[in-house]
């Protein structure tokens, strides 16, 4: 009798402790990666060879923060504002004046993944996101 109670207790405990795991498995929607939107006026104008980001898209997805951090140091401290991408294209190294020109949809682009990944970059405390500046939503 006592032994059964202990086993029941252990089972209940195990279920409670693993709630985050099996609840995520049971509700597939919550775990799905977000769909970011490329539907902005400037991106829609791009076609063929011009339809590209500063660097390879896969690389940008994983390392845009490294690129921005690198730009930050080069621009602010070294004063070099022209970035030459791996494919030779030159860009003005600027979050507000280069990135946001295409990605003018802060909420459907930046915020989608940042919310999903639960990261809170402090960029926006100073850098003006397009919606605040009255750019395309």
């Amino acid at each position: 009798m006592k032994k059964t109670n202990v086993i029941i207790g252990i089972v209940i405990f195990a279920i409670l402790v693993t709630v985050p795991f099996w609840s995520a498995i049971l509700s597939p929607a919550s775990g799905a990666a977000p769909e970011v939107s490329f539907d902005t006026p400037v991106i829609n104008q791009l076609s063929g060879d011009d339809y590209k980001c500063v660097e390879d898209v896969e690389w940008m997805r994983a390392h845009h923060m490294d690129l921005l951090s690198d730009w930050k140091v080069e621009v602010v401290r070294e004063g070099t504002r022209t970035y030459i991408a791996e494919d030779g294209t030159e860009y003005l190294a600027s979050l507000q004046n280069t990135c946001f020109e295409c990605h003018s949809n802060y909420e459907d682009f930046c915020l989608k993944c940042h919310t999903y990944a639960d990261v809170n970059p402090t960029c926006w405390e100073c850098h003006v996101e397009p919606t605040v500046a009255g750019g395309a939503a």
Partner: protein, 257 residues
């Protein structure tokens, strides 16, 4: 199997090494390093030292106000009315506030009433740079004393050190006090110090600082390291004053009075 201390350590080391190799081989293939490069469109301006001569015979209050408005508007400087909380990059001061030792009681009214344009002096020996514990304030290769807002932690050592009061602290969230945000320049956040940056974002693309562009003949801006530049000639041909030159901070903003 008989397990002694020696065998246990050997097996353990091999197991850990094996795990390490396995972990390394399954890590993502996307390279982490930024592989692009940078170039400076104007070439490296290492032989340039920016300086400014303000001709107070040509500078009137109206021009000064235009400079202030344009600068503060472009750089998203908040407009806060109270003396304690105000933030300013350019402002006007009476002569005696700038040049106390040169002031006397018989000085003419027209000098007393005039607002002298006041900005960061971009000292050649900047005290603010020395006291900043995180190198947020630094001097760049062209002698401009700049601020890296990403680093500033708001200790205000630089404000205490600056003998010219050229620095303002954001006691309040600045965005609440900006009428219209300029989307091409960042704002600041509550808790950081800010000041004039000699328009380094404009200098980088070969343009004059905003105030020098607006004030026309009243402000001469250029390379003081080049003896043939306009600014060097102004300095050679006119009697000029530096603010508190006795301190040895070597300001690079000069006044013709």
């Amino acid at each position: 199997m008989e397990m002694n201390r020696r065998k246990f350590l050997k097996l353990g080391t091999a197991a850990v090494a094996g795990l390490g190799v396995a972990a390394a081989s399954t890590s993502p293939a996307v390279a982490a390093a930024v592989n692009g490069s940078y170039k400076n469109a104007e070439g490296k301006q290492n032989d340039v030292t920016w300086g400014m001569v303000i001709d107070m015979n040509k500078m009137d209050n109206e021009t000064l106000n235009k400079c202030i408005e344009a600068c503060h508007k472009f750089h998203n400087v908040p407009n806060i009315d109270t003396k304690k909380d105000e933030v300013k990059w350019i402002w006007g001061e009476p002569f005696e506030h700038l040049f106390l030792d040169e002031t006397h009681e018989k000085m003419g009214e027209k000098f007393k009433d005039k607002n002298f344009m006041t900005i960061c002096n971009h000292c050649a020996e900047p005290v603010c740079v020395r006291v900043c514990p995180v190198k947020a304030t630094f001097m760049n290769a062209q002698g401009v004393v700049g601020m890296d807002m990403h680093r500033c932690l708001g200790c205000r050592n630089c404000m205490a050190a600056c003998p010219y009061g050229a620095r303002s602290f954001n006691y309040k969230a600045p965005r609440d006090y900006i009428e219209e945000i300029n989307p091409s320049y960042p704002t600041r956040m509550k808790g950081v110090v800010e000041k004039c940056n000699f328009c380094s974002e404009r200098l980088a693309v070969g343009e004059l600082p905003l105030c020098a562009e607006i004030a026309g003949a009243a402000i001469t801006f250029g390379n003081i390291a080049d003896p043939n530049s306009g600014v060097s000639k102004k300095l050679a041909d006119n009697f000029t004053l530096q603010r508190r030159s006795n301190l040895g901070t070597k300001p690079k903003v000069y006044y013709i009075v």
